[in-house]
Amino acid sequence: MQRLLTNIRIRQGLFGVACFFLAWYLLVDLFGVWRFREMPKLVVGIKEWLSLDPVFGVSLFTAEYYTHIWASIYRVLSAFFVATVAGIAIGILMGWRRIFFGLTFPILEVLRPIPILAWIPLAIILMPGRELPIIALTFLAAFFVTILNTLLGVRAIDRDYFRAAESLGFSQLQTLSHVIIPGALPYIFVGLQIAMGACWFSLVAAEILSGSAGLGYKVWETYYYVQFPTMVSTMATLGFFGYISSALVRVVGNRLMRWREKILAGT
């Protein structure tokens, strides 16, 4: 039953994708509908992407393509890793210790709404080199999301679990590892999924402004040089890796939370 269900899901998904490409082909390639005709043709884009000798220099078979992919993945992964570790630690402290919450919450709430784009100049001033500012910017949004969701997760733990732990003679540390962390995990993983999305979003913003490689950088470079087919295939590549990374977060979440019958949406 389970297998059949996923099978249908997969088939539906593939069908949806096929419809999307068909619409593209009809609107752009075949009929050249108003405004849509400015888009690169689907066939041209795919041909360029699959070409051994691409017109604009980047395809599935060129080293440059992978340089950009790797640069972006490296930045996202390191930023996401730091945001996860630091965000969960701070979020748990905030939910667990009133005094820490009192001290930090106002700062968090002031810093959190500042858009990533507004952070760019400061990041460039503060961080040495080209790579570090990009990673810092990629980290920032994910960091705030993770803190907030972890905090909410700790707050959402039923008071009776804390009381039970106290009655059963748990130490503070045992309460942390057996009640607070597992209890907050569902919220934490919802937060991590959003954080992963925030990472890609901020990454592109940062790469556009101060990068020398990376998928976000490549999108703008191809725009300047009017290499629209490559621009669109780079965008699609961004989307693909964003999808894969969110799915990975879900898989890890479901593995860690096998006790839950309800699984995170979308898997």
Partner: protein, 274 residues
């Protein structure tokens, strides 16, 4: 185990928000519970039963009077003794850790307190689980269990700590009538097997008489003890006792007192809504 679990509640009072709405939850509650006695407190919803239980457990402070166990002060105004494994609570909505297996849940008390080795704790847990017909569920997560199974597991988790007093806060409230009668019998079986002082609160009169050595009726807000009746039904008890003459006599005797309070609580509720 040291001590025997004799509970003494003297003139206990609790006022919520004394500066503001000044809600009197408990007033002048006095109750002596002998060691090894099964004492059930019955009263309408919102009469302060849970407040009293929380004070004994160490979750909440009194604003008047005192509670002591085996001559040792547990709670009085301005003094809050921490909760501990000598007074384990079985919660109204259940508080098995859903992210841990049944075995982890029932053995965590003695293991975290360092009172038992893992092998020993597991053996004792299996024995107790089997006693209430729950063998073979050790590796499951609580989410996969039925309501009745969860309640039994939680009671066993409490008993694993060998508490002096077992505090049960309407533990069978959410169960259907049939499941309830089975789980009640299991509780009595565990009680007969290893007698403990039990402080059990409920709003179900039949449940109270079926389980208790003594039933205390509580008044509606402010909560105080209205009537105490010793139940002289022989143990071990099973469901057949529910139709016995003596049971019905107790029901009549207590029913009137409770109905009065229920009516008062209902009217107070109507007033609040009006």
């Amino acid at each position: 185990m040291s001590g025997t679990g004799q509970l003494s509640i003297q003139n206990a009072g609790k006022i919520y928000d004394p500066e503001g709405i000044h809600m009197i939850a408990l007033e002048g509650v006095s109750l002596e519970i002998k060691a090894g006695e099964f004492c059930v407190v019955v009263g309408p919803s919102g009469c302060g039963k849970t407040t009293l239980l929380n004070a004994i457990a160490g979750f909440d402070q009194l604003t008047d009077g005192q509670i002591s166990m085996d001559e040792q002060l547990l709670a009085s105004p301005g003094k809050k003794l921490l909760p501990g494994p000598d007074r384990i609570v079985v919660f109204q909505h259940g508080a098995l850790f859903p992210w841990k297996t049944v075995m982890w849940n029932v053995t965590c008390g003695p293991l975290k307190q360092g009172r038992m080795k893992s092998v020993e704790a597991k053996e004792k847990a299996r024995e107790l689980l089997a006693r209430v017909g729950l063998q073979g569920i050790e590796d499951q997560f609580p989410e996969g269990l039925s309501g009745g199974q969860k309640r039994r597991v939680e009671i066993i988790r409490a008993l694993m700590n060998d508490p002096k007093v077992l505090l049960l806060d309407e533990p069978f409230r959410a169960l259907d009538a049939l499941t309830k009668s089975v789980v009640q019998e299991h509780l009595l079986e565990l009680f007969d097997f290893s007698p403990k002082t039990v402080f059990f609160i409920t709003h179900d009169l039949e449940e109270a008489i079926f389980l208790a050595d003594r039933v205390a009726v509580m008044t509606t807000r402010p909560g105080t003890i209205k009537k105490i009746v010793a139940v002289d039904l022989p143990r071990p008890r099973d469901y057949r006792i529910l139709t016995s003459e003596r049971f019905v006599e107790h029901k009549v005797e207590l029913g009137e007192a409770i109905h009065e309070e229920a009516k008062k609580a209902f009217e107070a509720g109507e007033r609040e809504l009006a």
